[in-house]
């Protein structure tokens, strides 16, 4: 099993690393942002917000390239928009995708989470109160 993990640098990245430790797999690869600030990922995207979606669309070819090169069985993202873009690229290439919404979204799921509902294989929240038929609760990091 090969899993590609994607998240923007900062709190989303901190959660992604911890989620990756929970999952049993043969090979882990990582996509992040802020290449100038850390070297712990295998691939990088430029950071953007889900509200400036055009900046994401411009990076779609890069995201597709990352998914093609890493050939994952499953893609997991903890957010935010750059993670969503990798999931979308994975969806276009027929990969299984899982969105884990940040534990920071305790009252409402994020806008990116709602977008992920449109195409991701599974969508998870870390707050049982926010569970719906589409957005499932399987547990939390804290």
């Amino acid at each position: 099993m090969r899993i590609l993990f994607a998240a923007s640098f900062g709190g989303h990245w901190a959660q992604l690393k911890r989620v990756s430790e929970l999952l049993a797999c043969d090979e882990r690869q990582f996509v992040s942002t802020a290449e100038s600030q850390h070297t712990s990922a295998d691939y990088y995207l430029d950071d953007f917000s889900v509200r400036e979606i055009w900046r994401g669309i411009l990076q779609l070819p890069r995201a597709l390239g990352i998914v093609r090169r890493s050939r994952p069985d499953v893609i997991v993202s903890t957010g935010a928009a750059p993670g969503l873009l990798i999931l979308f690229a994975g969806f276009l290439l027929g990969r299984k995708t899982i969105w884990v919404d940040s534990i920071a979204n305790s009252r409402n799921v994020s806008l990116s989470c709602r977008a992920a509902c449109l195409f991701a294989t599974r969508v998870l929240t870390q707050w049982p109160e926010l569970e719906t038929r589409r957005v499932r609760y399987l547990g939390r990091l804290l």
Binding site: A104, S106, L142
Partner: protein, 173 residues
């Protein structure tokens, strides 16, 4: 007393700088460290940098140095960013939260307020929305760490349960 203040990396957080200033003024003998954020300038930096001999301010400390400063800190005062909250809770570091607020243009939305309130409720970590009560709490802080073992066990229990269900989800896809 050794206190680490961290403002996060995304937007300026001037209120945290004000807290640092006030604590520095009232506790000149304390060792204070402030990571103000990569874009911090003017009002997002404390105005008393030169006046206080034991105040160490940087926009962003290199990872290793931050790690050492975090270890040494007896108390952490942080914005409600998930990275820092995870670190403080996992290491059972005593900490206070000052969430960034959208109304003051400290963040895009108010998720930090929600996070801080949720974490405060679950783990009993004090959260502050006003500066004066936070400054008072820092100055009067009881030097008592949260029960590390209980906290760590609670977090590990959550993660074991999460891991089990996550793995069966992945296998079922």
């Amino acid at each position: 007393m050794n206190v680490l203040f961290t403002a996060g990396t995304q937007f300026p957080f001037a209120r945290m700088a004000r807290v640092v200033e006030r604590v520095a003024e009232r506790c000149p003998e304390w060792r204070l460290v402030f990571q103000a954020g990569p874009g911090a300038s003017d009002s997002a930096l404390p105005g008393c940098t030169t006046a206080h001999a034991n105040l160490n301010v940087a926009p962003m400390f290199p990872q290793e140095e931050f790690e050492a400063l975090f270890q040494q800190a007896e108390l952490v005062v942080t914005h409600a960013g998930m990275g820092n909250l995870l670190l403080c809770l996992e290491r059972a570091k005593p900490f206070f939260m000052l969430p960034r607020l959208a109304s003051l243009r400290e963040h895009r939305n108010d998720h930090q307020r929600d996070t801080a309130e949720a974490i405060s409720e679950r783990y009993g970590v004090p959260v502050f929305f006003e500066l004066e009560p936070l400054v008072e709490a820092i100055i009067c802080v009881p030097k008592e760490a949260p029960p590390a073992l209980v906290l760590r066990e609670a977090i590990e229990r959550e993660r074991r349960a999460f891991a089990k269900r996550l793995n069966s989800l992945v296998e079922s896809l």
